[in-house]
């Protein structure tokens, strides 16, 4: 047994009990952020040996007087151009704190890097040049601190030496920035006059700022508190993955709020399925009996087999997040291409990835200039409020209820393009009630399998209109029925005439159409039927979603008949209408069909007769364990 040894070292590093805080230095370009960082390290005796000499050499090589900023501006291009491009971190220690200092670039061009740095901070120092005063990046950074949830802000008015340490100038700037921040709901913990280059106000108050009676920068940093885990809020465990490395089925994730332990009654959102935590798993010791609080990465097993996937949120019964498809958010935008109404986007909420679209844009504004702007789109580095419609219900909290789960990011082409806070949620009519308790069938799967001589399955036929899906599906249905089986045909058009009557042909509606088909087919398959789905289902992602719903039951069949042949057949007259311009969004002409990359079976009906193709389908079902080979199976039962 691999037991933990008694700690040979104190639990906090460096033998201290100082809390660690992360602090970001932000502000307009050239107002002295990197210089302040250098000065702080110097004044607290935190520079490694040789660093000062190295900086002198680097400065001299570039023909410059001593430059503190080279300490953090480590990249050649940063040193050559004299600007900070990317965010960085460095550590030092005060009497009361281990400080992780995050330096963030001031150029508007590198706002994404400022956000990367600032999002990790517990508190911030906003720096303002006494000569230049409040500038657009000052305001923009102030606004972003508020959006990023950084509430502890100290303001320093730097380069006081350049305004002869004038108290009046300092008070003007103090009044302006305090008003701006308080308008955002942020009250600065201090406003401090300093000269980062000379050291006034950084670690000590000098006679040159004798009129100032507040804290030094170091003292202000000592007053900042590390972020506290959200232990007292309701449990939120976003699911990262389900592991089946051995006979355990472990649901893994990080507790974002609240706490859990074995025996807890939980609800899995957005589906609203209810279960109990059987065990909390660990390594090297397992199971873990202590409660697991906010901030812990955990693994749990449940008392029953439920369909659960990455992106679901586990909560306690009665205290769960809402399930919704529409939400209102305040976001910042970092992508070159403005975010516009109608844009299709990928949203990440916790571990959930959901597609959706921007239904409305309100209050798009440049937080630097503070002028109200157009409402049609949100430009790069601007902020705005938007309404998002998602293609599937997801579990969400407004940020006012949970600052960690109430935020989202938006991705464009695989790259994070923006992010923000969930202001409110419109609980859609499709949101699941939380107290649903699935009722299981009275029959055992084996009872049905004995009668039908097959297991349940979803045979998903995809292909262009006219490829022969319905024809093949009907042939397979007849074949299975003839051998005593229980097939059910789910034709896309037929289902659209009833269950899916409310859906159109936009990408969102198509996704929902497929989701419902998949749910119905899976339900049938779980009850022993072979559900034969014949649907164009052009989007690869939608079919992948169907496969996720059906899991092991899924068999994808690509009816790969060439497009010209499909059009020449045109059994429903759709191609003709589309060519005449009377049918929008018709797959085959108007929108792209994405062929499967890993279908279980590919059939080209141009080169294969119906009987042959049906044989192939039957053989697929035999080989993959759906159909029982009669003789062998009887033999096995004797």
């Amino acid at each position: 047994m691999n037991m933990r040894v008694p700690a040979a070292a104190p639990a906090t590093p460096n033998g201290t009990s100082r809390p660690q805080v992360s602090i970001v230095i932000v502000g307009h370009v050239d107002h002295g952020k990197s210089t302040l960082v250098g000065r702080l390290l110097h004044e607290t005796g935190s520079l490694p040996d040789g660093k000062l000499e190295m900086l002198q050499a680097v400065s001299a090589r570039r023909g410059m007087p001593f430059e503190w900023s080279f300490l953090l501006d480590a990249l050649q291009t940063e040193r050559d151009q004299g600007i900070t491009i990317d965010t960085t971190q460095i550590r030092f220690r005060t009497n009361a704190r281990e400080v992780v200092l995050i330096d963030a670039p001031g150029h508007a061009e590198f706002l994404r890097n400022m956000i990367t740095g600032a999002s990790q901070a517990d508190g911030a120092v906003l720096i303002i040049d006494a000569l230049e005063g409040v500038r657009d990046q000052t305001r923009r950074h102030g606004y972003l601190l508020h959006l990023l949830g950084v509430k502890q802000v100290a303001v320093v008015v730097n380069k006081m030496d350049r305004v002869d340490f004038g108290e009046a100038r300092f008070n003007d700037i103090k009044a302006e920035i305090s008003a701006h921040l308080e308008g955002l709901g942020v009250k600065p913990v201090a406003v401090i006059p300093i000269s980062a280059r000379d050291g006034d106000g950084v670690a000590q108050l000098t006679s040159r700022i004798g009129w100032y009676k507040g804290p030094t920068v170091v003292e202000a940093l000592d007053g900042l508190e590390p972020a506290k885990p959200l232990s007292s809020l309701p449990l939120r465990l976003p699911v990262q993955a389900i592991y089946k490395f051995d006979d355990r089925r472990i649901v893994a994730g990080r507790v974002e709020a609240g706490e859990l332990r074995s025996g807890d009654e939980i609800v899995i959102m957005p589906a609203g399925k209810i279960a109990k935590i059987k065990t909390v798993e660990g390594w090297p010791q397992t199971p873990v009996t202590a409660a697991q609080g906010a901030g812990r990465s955990v693994g749990i097993t449940l008392d029953r087999e439920l369909f659960i996937e990455r992106g679901d949120v586990i909560a306690h019964v009665g205290r769960e997040p809402q399930a919704a498809r529409r939400l209102h958010a305040r976001i910042f935008w970092l992508h070159d291409q403005p975010l516009a109404k109608g844009d299709n986007i990928l949203v990440r909420l916790g571990t959930r990835e959901a597609r959706g679209s921007v239904v409305a844009i309100e209050k798009a504004v440049d937080p630097g200039s503070l002028s109200n702007e157009e409402n049609a789109s949100i430009a790069r580095n601007h902020v705005g409020e938007i309404e998002i419609a998602l293609t599937q219900p997801v579990a969400i909290d407004p940020y006012t209820e949970n600052a960690r789960t109430g935020r989202l990011v938006i991705e464009v082409q695989g790259r994070i393009a923006g992010g923000g806070l969930v202001l409110s949620i419109a609980a859609g009519k499709r949101a699941a009630p939380v107290d649903i308790m699935p009722v299981e069938s009275a029959l055992q799967p084996q009872e049905r399998a004995d009668r039908y001589r097959h297991k349940g399955a979803v045979v998903w036929m995809t292909g262009l209109p006219g490829a022969g899906k319905s024809t093949l599906a009907r042939a397979l249905e007849r074949r299975l029925f003839s051998r005593g089986g229980a097939p059910v045909l789910l034709d896309g058009d037929t289902v659209r005439a009833g269950l899916n009557r409310d859906l159109g042909f936009t990408p969102e509606d198509r996704a929902e159409n497929i989701r419902r088909l998949a749910e119905v087919a899976t339900h049938l398959a779980r009850n022993g039927h072979i559900a034969i789905v014949a649907a164009v289902s052009p989007a690869r992602e939608d079919r992948a979603a169907a496969r996720r719903v059906a899991g092991d039951l899924f068999r994808e069949v690509y009816v790969a008949t060439a497009a010209e042949i499909c059009e020449s057949r045109d059994p429903k007259g759709h191609y003709a209408k589309a060519r005449a311009g009377n049918l929008q969004n018709f797959t085959g002409i108007g929108t792209d069909y994405e062929p499967p990359l890993d279908a279980e079976l590919v059939i080209d009906t141009a080169t294969r007769g119906i009987a042959d193709a049906t044989d192939e389908l039957e053989s697929l079902l035999s080989k993959t364990g759906v159909l029982f080979d009669d003789i062998a199976d009887l033999g096995a039962n004797i």
Partner: protein, 274 residues
């Protein structure tokens, strides 16, 4: 259902570091198709393997790859062979090309170290990994301090320092373009002292070269010919931690490749070095 408020034990500093690293490892495993963990055999990557075993309940579900310069200390090879077995790792050992294959404009030690970059590229081409988990830390070196947790690399393994994507709130950019890969850095936020404190707490085995012998010990391990010990009397982890408390010597002082010219290490990293 009434609940007692916070019956959970509070998390200390090491618990927080551990939980964050496990979160990152699980994100990488969930979002990438073919991962490998780069095992340099040093104290940092040993902690990383330990964290991966915690994240995945004892089993590391991807290969541990040692890109071998064939110039490591014998103690390192012995350690590798012992613990690859004991920890049940899927160990992949990949060779590095001879020095002639490496950019001749680099200063000598950096050029020697750059063999590893080339070896890494060959291994990537051979296995088709889309994610490499690497044990670098921000406090080691100034360009590493600017890294992302999920750091995209070009098709040649290169790092575009001018255009790193935004990364916030533990949302990572996990979609490498076709042919490129991601570096994942699960212990970026740890310090040298954190590594030692955690190694002691978890009782993780270490290579004895880290402990003082005849007044010297290695703080950082690399190729034998370009890595040098520092003066130290620390002969156990508690003494190492006490030493770190007061030292002003940087951790990589004994790694010649860092110090040859101002930009040598950045050039290595931009080209794909760790």
């Amino acid at each position: 259902m009434p609940r007692v408020l916070s019956a959970a034990p509070t998390m200390d500093h090491l618990d927080q570091l551990e939980a964050q690293s496990i979160y990152i490892l699980r994100e990488a495993f969930a979002r990438l198709k073919k991962l490998a963990l780069l095992w340099s055999l040093g104290k940092d990557s040993n902690v990383m393997i330990w964290l991966a075993r915690k994240a995945f309940f004892g089993r590391v579900p991807f290969p541990a790859m040692h890109v071998d310069t064939a110039k490591k200390f014998p103690e390192m090879y012995a350690f590798r062979d012992t613990y690859a077995k004991e920890w049940g790792l899927d160990l992949k050992i990949e060779p590095c090309p001879p020095i002639d294959a490496v950019d001749p404009t680099l200063p000598p030690a950096a050029r020697s170290a750059a063999r590893k970059t080339e070896g890494l590229k060959m291994a990537l081409a051979k296995h088709g990994f889309d994610g490499l988990i690497a044990g670098i830390r921000r406090d080691e070196e100034a360009t590493r301090a600017k890294e992302r947790v999920f750091s995209p690399r070009g098709a040649e393994g290169n790092w575009d320092v001018r255009d790193q994507p935004p990364e916030f709130w533990d949302h990572f950019n996990a979609s490498p373009p076709q042919g490129a890969h991601l570096r994942i850095h699960p212990i970026l936020h740890w310090t040298e002292a954190d590594i030692w404190a955690y190694t002691a707490r978890e009782n993780i085995p270490i290579i004895p070269l880290y402990l003082s012998k005849n007044g010297k010990r290695y703080r950082s391990l690399g190729d034998q010919d370009i890595t040098f010990p520092v003066a130290s009397n620390a002969s156990n982890i508690a003494e190492i931690l006490a030493e770190l408390e007061s030292t002003k010597v940087p951790e990589r002082a004994g790694r010649a490749l860092d110090h040859e010219t101002e930009d040598a290490f950045e050039r290595l990293r931009v080209a794909g070095y760790l």
